[in-house]
Subunit: 371 residues, 2 copies
Amino acid sequence: MLLAVDMRDHETDKVTMGDIARASGVSPMTVSRVLSNNPSVKEAHRKRVLAVAKRLNYHVDIIARQLRAQHTFQLGVVAPFRGLVGTYYFGQILQGIQQVLTGTDYHIALYDSLSEDFNDIPKCVNLCHERRVSGLIVVAPELSAKFPKTFASLKMPIIVVGSSMGRQGVSYVDVDNYGGACLLTEHLIELGHTRIGFVSGRADLRDASQRELGFRKTMEKHGLPVVAEWIIQGEYEARKAFQVSMNLLAKSDRPTAIFAANDQMAYGVIDAARILGLQVPEDLSVGGFDDIQSSAEFVPALTTVGQPMLDLGLVAARYILDVLSKTNTAVLHRKLPAQLVTRSSTAMPNQPQRSATSDDPLSKISRINQG
Amino acid sequence: MLLAVDMRDHETDKVTMGDIARASGVSPMTVSRVLSNNPSVKEAHRKRVLAVAKRLNYHVDIIARQLRAQHTFQLGVVAPFRGLVGTYYFGQILQGIQQVLTGTDYHIALYDSLSEDFNDIPKCVNLCHERRVSGLIVVAPELSAKFPKTFASLKMPIIVVGSSMGRQGVSYVDVDNYGGACLLTEHLIELGHTRIGFVSGRADLRDASQRELGFRKTMEKHGLPVVAEWIIQGEYEARKAFQVSMNLLAKSDRPTAIFAANDQMAYGVIDAARILGLQVPEDLSVGGFDDIQSSAEFVPALTTVGQPMLDLGLVAARYILDVLSKTNTAVLHRKLPAQLVTRSSTAMPNQPQRSATSDDPLSKISRINQG
DNA sequence: AGAGATTTTGGTATCGATACCACAGCTTCA
DNA sequence: TGAAGCTGTGGTATCGATACCAAAATCTCT
């Protein structure tokens, strides 16, 4: 009765608990108990069942388990593919999520909130709900995203990443872009800069507008002028920033410091400054935002605002898991602090007289190749 | 008996087909038929059932359907998160996949092949198999990826993206990186260049080595020298490329053209050239690879090799769906052609005598600001 | 009108794992 | 020795949708 030889062995994988039960002379229930580590089963049976399961190359049928448990163990991640997937920011969030999920039974189900089927987030969230995801992380950096209160009534944990939802009962985790921008602006002001320009990011993204707001408010707070011509559009792209800052820096009436709303654009600004013969940070201080990997190695090493992108994913995923395990039931409203990272692309501005002799950037051009 | 009023209405969503059946006076089977568009059901019943389903806010229980159908409608996508997620390349592939999936019942389940649980691809593939994904797309740009033949014996369609699998029975779709590199090299040679440098990509990535090979073979084919000092490591990063090409271009014995293994590095090379006072393309032709979005707008517009990244995703997803629907059962070995995109960053090399007078790059430095 | 063909409907079993209850076998103590 | 307690084990029902078959309802034609 024991260990009836099964010639199919590793071949077919339609092996069920019933098969194992038959082959090891116990009931399916006992098999189920063994495989779910229920302690109330005799050691002899346990060993035999495990051996048979291994021999038959058994794997639980996840679907049946899901049906019984009414739980898919899928963590839905909703994001606008166009524009977000393929960015470092989103990649880091995904890695954070995966780090939390590794070792659990959960995995990521990815949905495009811009798919032509459902051109807005609520529709996509409903789809996920119908698909019975266990929890949902909505990555929504767009300004236009609408989040109806009905989200809160869905019978699943849900959290928004990258958008602060105000007073609504929806959980979110976001980076404090406003505060981060204040930090960098304060830093530049403390160094003695009063003529500061700003390269803004994509107008449709929430974080971009928050960074610009932080810059403006801090300038106002210190009674410093925000010069309209010194606020230029960089679209979050190094190239675009390069082009627009070429124009700005070529003028004789130019700022002594520039705050770029992300690091890539800061690179673009520095490239432009180099070409125009301006030394960074001697003639121009440049600050960025994000602290992407290359910014530490960049020459000059970039002063920037560190954004805990990985943490966004970690916090969001951990929150969902906590709610699912009933550890936490509260609505989460969390702004992760951004950190000022001071490196060598910012310094005190040159003395006025010195700056006067060098109004023409071309006069300095040879210096770049001698340094 | 008809239309018994249900006060719960939209509240709870534990509505089953049985509930609808009861509320509309038919059997669960008829409800099932109506909801799966089976034509053999009387129009009166159909209308009543649909009305009730809507009123009760019914949604099929996907899990139960899956169990019955033995099919999860999940398309597994396996990729090394670290290094790949967050790249434009992977973003495009994902978008391609999603485009095919939009409108179908399938959706993406994302798995990290580098998760600490299973540090190699076969383990991750097994996990997906256990999780009963309906099909699997393995994105594997690394050189080290091992693909045992056992993949072919898994009872699910599987395709590898970004690695040509040689003679093994595993399907793949890849871009013809080798051929693309040949195209660009030929282009430079046709323009009259004989002194050509190469900025290589990440040594661990398959595509990078293929591009370099294409360059080398084409040079050899034309009897041109591959100068060791002119093959420099750019790691696929603009910054790195900028640094190493600064060194290379500052020498008096420098190439007249540089082929960078991706567009970002080409940007870096061009930036370096600018700073050294070299005009592109007059003094230096620069070609890239990938044709990323910004390359068309770049100044000068970049000559590059267009890589159909979106198509990788499209072809892979379409293949899986075809196999699942039995439309196709053959193993797919497909290399998508890369396309030469000629823009303004490449041109005929300067005449030798002219090049002789300008051995010192500094002599040209003022030109950049006058153009 | 009634036999036969056709459309429409409902009952039952099934997918595979597992919660719950009941009970067999064994131990412990009055 | 028998009642009470404990441990292991198996039977049955359930999660919700649907394939399959049989039965009912309807239609067709002589």
